[in-house]
């Protein structure tokens, strides 16, 4: 065992862990951060969207040094059936602002940079060090961690669990349950490398502008799931995620779905000639507000994906992770400054501060969405996209059929596929979940 005691131990060097460690180290706390990957980010799924606002609160001038790929000027939503997509596209030059709001990043590089900031702030960061269990006293108070290195037990006043979605440590220690299959999505993702000029030409981009495409429809074969395509500087991230419970039931493999997505006629021309270099699978917590576990206890707090803080509707995760990490760090600093012990009672402060932030407020707003999408997944991901695509085709095809007949046929096809009551019900439920 290591004699030296730390103020705080942070488990994990993802978005949440880095935010927490940096916040505490900057304020002078003695922080030890442990990461099992070879380097921070090595275990993280590549290619993602970064929300600048939340990072600014942690590293105000991050734009100067962080490895950012492209700032996003265009968002596309695709509703897909097997041969077509109906799209909504929003592009605005307003996004070419001095301090852009969203960027694509490559996590492996970004996390490395983020971790360097943590180290510069004075935290001790150890990679290739896996925490195997939490050290607890007989009453369950968390005293520290045990790692897989020789002589690897270390103690601290408080342990920040930022171990990501699996949350094995917390559940093993009996602090909370592992997420249920209907509350996690399995996402698979690939990086397709292309020369930057090719990417810029294919997506109509100038310089570091970037595009995000989100796609839903028959690509998930009736399961709750979405596909996405992001442009990086010299690569395109493409991926697709579905609820684990749906995958289990359908017997579909995520990789098979991604393959089909890539072969979709709308996608093929975007990827043509690229070289695939990375393939990764990762879980995303999608249970929303109702799935949030106990967030604090004697000697511990949990942040980020490990705490199920993920907004599936807006596909936001890292910003909630960063914010929860920052808030946990601030709460811990306050308690420490008051020289108070890290009891559950005192650590409740973290929950309070989190409740007041957008994190919990947003999750609350959509609290019924996961259940709705889950129970009506066939309608939302199979029937409607198919119907909408057909309607579009009927509408744009000029074939001598009178327009009035076309409209009638479309309405009929909607009704026959879903009873009118069902349709109205879905619309109503969707609106309510969104509200």
């Amino acid at each position: 065992m290591i004699e030296e005691k730390f103020d705080a131990i942070v488990i994990g060097a993802g978005m949440a862990g880095n935010a927490a460690a940096l916040t505490m180290a900057k304020r002078g706390l003695k922080v030890l951060q442990l990461e099992r990957g070879e380097y921070p980010g090595s275990k993280n799924v590549q290619g993602a969207i970064l929300y600048a606002d939340m990072l600014e609160k942690i590293v105000p001038d991050f734009r100067e040094e962080a490895p950012l790929e492209r700032h996003i000027v265009e968002q596309r939503f695709w509703m897909m059936n097997d041969s077509s997509h109906v799209g909504l596209q929003y592009r605005s030059d307003d996004f070419n602002e001095e301090k852009p709001n969203r960027y694509t990043i490559v996590r492996a590089q970004f996390d490395k940079w983020f971790s360097k900031e943590v180290q510069k702030a004075g935290a001790v960061v150890l990679c290739e060090t896996t925490v195997i269990e939490l050290v607890q006293d007989p009453q369950g108070k968390v005293l520290g961690v045990r790692t897989d290195r020789k002589g690897g037990e270390v103690h601290a006043d408080v342990v920040v669990l930022a171990e990501g979605v699996n949350g094995l440590l917390g559940s093993r220690a009996g602090l909370r349950e592992r997420p249920a299959p209907e509350n996690v999505a399995l996402a698979v993702k690939e990086m397709h490398f292309l020369p930057r000029e090719t990417i810029e030409a294919r997506f109509n981009l100038n310089g570091d502008e970037g595009v995000v495409i989100e796609a839903a429809g028959t690509i998930s074969k009736g399961m709750t799931g979405v596909g996405f395509i992001y442009t990086n500087k010299e690569s395109i991230s493409i991926g697709l995620g579905c609820l684990v419970s749906d995958l289990k039931k359908s017997g579909q493999t995520p990789y098979g779905l991604l393959e089909a997505f890539k072969r979709h006629p709308s996608v093929v021309p975007l990827l043509e000639g690229s070289e695939v270099k990375e393939y990764a699978a990762h879980l995303i917590p999608e249970g929303g507000y109702n799935a949030i576990p106990q967030l604090y206890g004697d000697g511990w707090v949990v942040v980020g994906d490990a705490a199920q803080l993920n907004n599936a509707v807006h596909r936001e995760g890292s910003n909630l992770a960063m914010t929860s990490g920052r808030i946990a760090g601030e709460a811990i600093f306050q308690i420490k400054s008051r020289k108070d012990p890290f009891t559950a009672e005192n650590l409740k402060l973290y929950k309070k501060m989190l409740d007041d932030s957008f994190v919990i407020k947003d999750l609350k707003k959509y609290k019924d969405m996961p259940a709705l999408l889950h129970t009506s997944s066939k309608n939302f991901f199979l029937t409607y996209p198919e119907l909408i695509a057909k309607a579009m085709q009927t509408y744009v095809r000029v074939d001598g059929v009178p327009k009035i007949d076309k409209e009638k046929a479309t309405v009929k096809s909607f009704k026959s596929a879903r009873s009118l009551a069902g349709l109205v019900g879905d619309a109503f439920r969707f609106a309510r979940a969104w509200r």
């Binding site: 290591i2 380097y39 590549q46 492996a108 960061v125 150890l126 060090t129 290195r149 270390v154 990086n232």
Partner: protein, 281 residues
């Protein structure tokens, strides 16, 4: 005893991509690693230190970010790390690299004690030359023991070392005086995992960082581009073979027979040659 181990930070060659138009390396997202062969050198050095006492200094020449690799070497339990970094070193070939490293080893000797053994890896996976080790040995006048599979014995009092060196048709058992330079073969020992103490110490350690001047190199014309006799004229991707494989379509035939027919159709002389060979068997 003082051992210096030279390591290099290299891009993980398994993840290298080539730009299809400009034929340059696309480095984005390509992780860097400690040259895999150098891990064997580090491990052998640590074993000797553990057995005979003394210190292990890790040395690299490279850009500032090469300190990541040095820090990692410290987590294995090395005692000290020196980073040689300067814009004058950019573009060094093996002759210039061995000049810079040998100067730094001399300086390390002055500051931290003379090296009894200098280790390098057998070769790097980016340069792949296996020349830097011999180059350092020659410049420092050390006996050169390349392709060493194991250090069999070390006699500190008698100042001699016994090693097993891989030769083409077998293994040479060599005895040589100290100081010497060893280039370490792969596969002979697995790199250890440092303890929690080692890891903590490494995370906090200062990496000694030297410029050309700090390393006592007065004449930078021997470094970098200017000090390199070789010139890289052209870099290009291997020409992809025009035709892809001819696929065997067994249509009705047993696949094994279809495959054999395809092979012999493509190389008619092969059948007789194979018959000859299998007779030998």
């Amino acid at each position: 005893m003082h051992i210096v181990v030279c390591i290099k930070q290299v891009p993980d060659s398994a993840q290298i991509r080539v730009h299809p138009v400009t034929n340059t390396i696309m480095r984005q997202g390509v992780p860097t690693i400690i040259n895999p062969y150098d891990l064997f050198a580090i491990e052998e050095a640590l074993r000797l230190r553990d057995k005979f006492g003394g210190e292990v200094t890790i040395l690299t020449m490279g850009p500032p970010m090469a300190s990541d690799s040095l820090r990692k070497a410290l987590t294995f339990g090395a005692d000290r790390a020196v980073l040689l970094t300067d814009r004058f070193f950019a573009g060094s070939d093996t002759l210039a690299t061995s000049f810079a490293l040998s100067s730094a080893i001399t300086k390390i000797g002055e500051v931290f004690g003379a090296a009894d053994i200098v280790f390098t890896g057998k070769q790097t996976i980016d340069g792949d030359t296996a020349q830097v080790g011999p180059g350092i040995a020659k410049r420092l006048g050390l006996t050169q023991l390349t392709y060493v599979a194991k250090v069999a014995d070390l006699d500190l009092a008698g100042r001699s070392i016994e090693v097993h060196r891989r030769a083409e048709g077998g293994v040479q058992v060599l005895k040589s005086p100290l100081p010497c330079l060893i280039t370490m073969l792969e596969g002979t020992n697995e790199i250890r995992r440092g303890s929690m103490m080692d890891a903590l110490r490494a995370a906090r350690a200062e990496v000694v960082t030297w410029s050309a001047k700090d390393a006592g190199i007065p004449d930078v014309t021997k470094c970098g581009l200017r000090g390199s006799p070789t010139v890289v004229k052209r870099v290009f991707a291997p020409t992809p073979r025009a035709e892809k494989a001819q696929f065997v379509d067994p249509a009705g035939e047993p696949p094994a027979d279809a495959l054999i027919n395809a092979i012999f159709k493509r190389a008619p002389k092969l059948e007789a040659e194979l018959a000859e060979l299998s007779r030998g068997y």
